[in-house]
């Protein structure tokens, strides 16, 4: 059909999916949505499987014109979304009518928000993934953020989503309006306060002990500010300079998202979704996986502090987070099943 036309692109809006895995041995970064919890929840709310392409919006969102009816969901930072000037509720499925203009403003608390549509955004699949990877010129939409005038195609929604859309249309009845929102909503972690401080837990790395004693203490006692040069590749942190006890060359080693590296200048870098696959700077600590979604909501200028935790605790928190996602998935599936029965 006619998709979605970009009227204003926002600060940095890219199509992302769950990441392209299995290719790090060829130097291809997995990429994918920076903030996985909101990305996955938005997709679940519109009946999509986990890895379907959605629009990742950063700091200031886009203005989009829908050329077709679409079942959508918005999760993540609150960018005060509106449809035709009216407040568009987040964290629930919403049927937006063709001709509506959906606009996102500046984020209030957090920095990243996800717009999922039933069926997903229809962009070319490159290297087994749909995500945008600008550093290597890889697709999403020609490997770049969206621009004014772009037309984003929408793939066909599944049966469940079509049924849900019909259910919402029926709720509207005789009222006119650009959208109909479901009455229920979900609470999506991470919750991030508007005070713009992000406290995350880390595991010390093998090279943590190479930090000077003073730096080891500083890492946990002081806060850092997310620098302006921070992006999907990594966050450059400004604050107390950290130092190794002795300078030493390190052979490049594979890395993970959340790796806290220490370059010679002393300002740590936290690697994020589009990181290079190997790093030559000493990795002194690792943000735990369960806290990555929280960190992904930090914006330049926000402050970050670190707390040391144990591997056992990190694994426990990860397992708990996965359990919560599965519960959410089941709850949404039940809602869809209910609607399916209604429509029979």
């Amino acid at each position: 059909m006619n998709g979605i036309v970009v009227m204003k692109p926002g600060a940095f809006s890219t199509v992302q999916d769950g990441g392209r895995w299995g290719l790090q041995k060829y130097g291809v970064s997995p990429g994918g949505a920076m903030e996985m919890l909101s990305y996955r929840t938005a997709n679940m709310l519109v009946g999509n499987a986990g890895n379907v392409p959605a629009l990742e919006m950063t700091l200031l969102g886009p203005t989009l014109e829908l050329r077709q009816d679409a079942l959508v969901a918005v999760c993540g930072a609150d960018m005060r979304p509106k449809a035709d000037g009216r407040h568009l509720p987040m964290n629930r499925p919403v049927l937006v009518k063709a001709g509506s203009v959906v606009s996102f403003g500046a984020s209030v608390g957090g920095s990243r928000s996800y717009l999922a549509v039933a069926g997903g955004f229809d962009v070319p699949r490159v290297l087994g993934g749909f995500g945008c990877y600008p550093a290597a010129g890889l697709e999403g939409l020609a490997g770049r953020p969206i621009r004014e005038g772009d037309r984003l195609g929408l793939a066909a929604p599944g049966k469940g989503a079509k049924s849900f859309a019909r259910h919402l249309a029926a709720l509207q009845g005789s009222e006119s309006g650009s959208f109909i929102a479901e009455g229920w909503s979900v609470a999506v972690a991470p919750s991030f306060a508007e005070d713009k401080h992000f406290h995350v837990r880390v595991l010390p790395g093998k090279r943590f002990s190479r930090l000077s004693a003073e730096s080891q203490a500083l890492l946990f006692e002081r806060y850092f500010t997310v620098g302006t040069q921070s992006n999907r590749m990594g966050y450059r942190l400004k604050g107390p300079k950290l130092q190794l006890a002795e300078a030493s060359e390190m052979v490049s080693e594979p890395v993970t998202p959340g790796t806290v590296q220490l370059p010679p200048g002393g300002d740590p870098i936290v690697l994020m979704a589009d990181r290079q696959t190997t790093g030559g700077y000493p990795p002194v600590a690792y943000v735990i996986s369960a806290d990555l979604p929280l960190l992904a909501q930090a914006a330049p200028g926000d402050s970050v502090s670190f707390e040391r935790t144990s591997l056992a605790e990190a694994e426990r928190l990860y397992a708990e987070q996965q359990r919560k996602i599965r519960l959410l998935e089941r709850m949404i599936a039940l809602k869809y099943a209910e609607v399916g029965r209604e429509n029979e």
């Binding site: 299995g22 490049s252 959340g258 690792y286 943000v287």
Partner: protein, 228 residues
């Protein structure tokens, strides 16, 4: 060599065979990779061979680090009798010097050799791909003759032309795409190292054996033309 197993955060670990890059540890990495592919441990997401190490990415809620270590140890014991899979051999044509190798003179000077001798040494060696990283398709090659080791530039170039052959410290490599880079550029290949439309997307894989074949400017132009 007793391997070291340590976590990278909560969802990955490293099996490290040595602190130094060497062909023997590369073979052990390749053997372990082959064993783990054949008998995957539950929760395994991805394996990444690197210089003297194998990185394992996994779901910690399925098997945690401790369980991974328990399951890896018997496999590591089997490595001494496991043969590394046969390596692919590739020849990479390189046009050395001139506009393609702006740093060839300084590598020669630093080594106390003529440019011709640098070319002879570089192309005379056999290299092993230790790992692919930094950018898609970029090979870190082990086996650079010691005489040619040259420190990186203090200021990286803003953009290195794709196909450039570089020397960085005691490693040599090839830039597959245009990126900023600090290695010393000594030549260029018309061959594409990164092809996103193919599987695998990288011409080279960890463990491959590579030789460089010097070619003339004219041959370079012809090969480049044919590759399009």
């Amino acid at each position: 060599m007793k391997p070291d197993i340590y976590p990278l955060g909560d969802s990955a670990l490293i099996v490290r065979f040595s602190e130094y890059t060497e062909a023997e540890s590369i073979n052990r990495v390749r053997s372990l990779f082959k064993l783990l592919k054949a008998e995957p441990i539950p929760g395994l997401i991805e394996l990444v061979p690197a210089l003297g190490t194998l990185a394992v990415y996994y779901r910690p809620d399925i098997c945690g680090f401790r369980e991974w270590r328990e399951r890896l140890l018997p496999l590591l014991n089997r490595l001494s009798v496991t043969e590394a899979p046969p390596a692919n051999r590739l020849s990479i044509p390189v046009c050395y010097g001139g506009e393609f190798g702006p740093d060839l003179p300084c590598v020669a000077e630093s080594a106390g050799l003529s440019e011709q001798e640098v070319i002879r040494l570089h192309s005379g060696a056999e290299y092993v791909v230790g790992m692919i990283g930094f950018v898609p398709g970029f090979p870190y090659l082990v086996g650079l003759p010691h005489a040619l080791a040259t420190p990186r530039r203090t200021e990286p170039r803003v953009s290195v032309p794709p196909g450039s052959i570089g020397i960085g410290g005691n490693q040599t490599g090839i830039y597959p795409v245009s990126v900023p880079g600090g290695w010393r550029l000594i030549g260029r290949t018309p061959v594409r190292l990164f092809r996103p439309e193919e599987r695998p997307p990288s011409l080279l894989s960890p463990g491959d054996i590579v030789r460089f074949i010097p070619i003339e400017r004219g041959q370079f132009a012809e090969m480049e033309h044919r590759a399009l």
